[in-house]
């Protein structure tokens, strides 16, 4: 019949033209992408995850916008309406733009991320994020996922 999403009155990510308050993607081999919920009083969203390059080599481990492991020297640059994750060759790997909605905010993520096999698994554009549906972790197991992540 359709796709059920949890949507916030205040802030949402755009995913295939639809809203959702949080995005969690995970592959069995280690790729991870978590766009965190943005609470009222906050504006710019934060992400966590483990990203790889086209060769399947680790590029970055990031926790709530803090670069924890950064073997390829990426930089997170604050921008006027969000931020950009930039490679050492100044290429934008992922950028975040926060747009004002009626009383709230909508974040559009642009760029592309690869998994541990070097396959492109996430890309973002005007209609928001796109990814294979099997990667998405539903919010029903969200808490379990977060506690496991915290223990890593």
């Amino acid at each position: 019949m359709g796709e059920l999403k949890m949507v916030s009155a205040y802030h949402n990510y755009l995913v295939r033209g639809r809203l959702q308050r949080e995005v969690i993607l995970k592959s069995l081999g280690g790729f991870l992408f978590h766009a965190h919920r943005v609470e009222p009083m906050e504006r710019v969203p934060s992400i966590s995850g483990r990203f790889f390059d086209k060769k399947g080599e680790l590029v970055l481990i990031i926790r709530k916008n803090e670069l924890v492991e950064n073997p390829q020297g990426l930089a997170l640059i604050p921008m006027r309406d969000g931020w950009s994750l930039i490679s050492s060759s100044m290429e934008a790997i992922l950028s975040c733009q926060v747009l004002d909605a009626k009383g709230g905010l909508i974040t559009i993520l642009r760029g592309a991320l690869h998994d541990e096999r070097g396959q492109e698994v996430l890309k973002g554009g005007k209609l928001g994020l796109e990814f294979p549906p099997e990667l998405e972790v539903s919010e029903l197991v969200d808490r379990e996922f977060q506690s496991r992540e915290a223990g890593r």
Partner: protein, 339 residues
């Protein structure tokens, strides 16, 4: 969940959906009494902002049908989408705004579902014994207020005019599940298409937001005092409106008609001249903060609505009123000029 209370936001594509926000507040109240939830239904092309706004104002779930074929109000397509949803989820109550599109959509959906529809309801309640929706609606041309129930058919449907219920305050912490429905085919042909939409001229929209309104009724037209009412409005810097008979006589444009099938005004001061106070007119002025009624019939119902009544002929009273207002204005202007 079966038995929900639905608010259909039919105006998502047209920018204004305040009436849907107002209906959510009443819808939640009804849902609480029925032990269910109040949901919004949104149809449109890009519904992002509407969905967030509806959640912020009390929608406990949102059903979204979106696609390019829903970008403008197409009665047959919209009716098809709403009816499919109703068959699938079986709501108990459906509320729509009594806007141009809401009225048309509600009537078509009610016909297709073979259920009842009460138009322009002034209040909605749940009968505690039966659980039926009690719809307080004008009947017999507005001469009576009737309590309407639909005991045998479901869903129970009602339209409500904008401004009837207050909306809930914006809650940024609200969250709700949103069901994005699979694409609905657009094969239905309307037989016509909207080629352009124009916003009404500013002056035609000022009546509802004016702080002072002067309104004329049939008594003015029959007594030849219409020009005096125009002068009074000019002297006060007020917006001019009136009842149906003045529109029918060509003295006022349709956009200036006040009442149940016209505009609902909410000024700080309303001066109503030669209006008997028929129910269909009175429902359009009850949001006014202070009503001054001028009429020569001492038993006219308008005096029951008024905070101040002036009994007499408009031809005698209005020139004196205009003269008094003009002289006060002159004095104020002189004082201002001399610091």
């Amino acid at each position: 969940m079966k038995g929900e209370v639905w608010v259909v936001d039919e105006g998502a594509s047209f920018g204004e959906n305040r009436v849907a926000l107002e209906l959510l507040s009443k819808g939640r109240e009804l849902a609480r009494k029925l032990g269910t939830r109040c949901c919004a239904v949104v149809l449109g092309c890009d519904t992002r902002e509407e969905v967030m706004e509806l959640i912020a104002h009390g929608a406990e779930m949102v059903y979204v049908a979106q696609g390019p074929h829903l970008s403008q109000f197409r009665p047959r397509v919209y009716t098809e989408v709403v009816c499919r949803l109703v068959h699938e989820f079986q709501p108990e109550i459906i509320l729509l705004g009594a806007t141009d599109t809401g009225r048309e959509l509600a009537a078509r959906v009610a016909k297709r579902l073979e259920t009842g529809l009460s138009a322009d309801c002034l209040d909605l309640e749940i009968d505690e014994e039966t659980g039926n929706l009690v719809q307080l609606a004008p009947a017999f041309g507005g001469r009576l207020l009737a309590e309407v129930i639909c005991p045998e058919r479901r869903p129970q449907m009602a339209t409500v005019r904008p401004g009837t219920f207050p909306q809930l305050p914006y809650d940024p912490e609200a969250t709700a599940p949103v069901l994005y429905l699979d694409a609905v085919d657009a094969e239905l042909e309307e037989g016509w298409e909207i080629v352009a939409m124009e916003v009404a001229p500013e002056e035609d929209r000022e009546l509802e937001s004016a702080s002072v309104v002067v309104s004329a009724g049939a008594g003015v037209a029959e007594g030849g005092a219409f020009h005096l009412v125009v002068e009074l409005a000019r002297a006060l810097g007020a917006q001019l409106g009136g009842t149906r008979p003045l529109v029918q006589r060509g003295l006022l444009p349709q956009e200036r008609m006040i009442g149940q099938t016209g505009r609902a005004v909410r000024p700080k001061v309303l001066i109503t001249v030669g209006t008997s106070g028929a129910l269909q007119y009175a429902t359009g002025i009850r949001g006014s903060e202070f009503i001054i009624a001028i009429d020569k019939n001492p038993t006219a119902p308008i005096f029951d609505e008024a905070d101040l009544g002036i009994l007499g002929d408009a031809n005698d009273i209005l020139p004196r009123l205009v003269s008094a207002i003009s002289s006060v204005r002159r004095e104020n202007d002189l004082e201002a000029a001399h610091g």
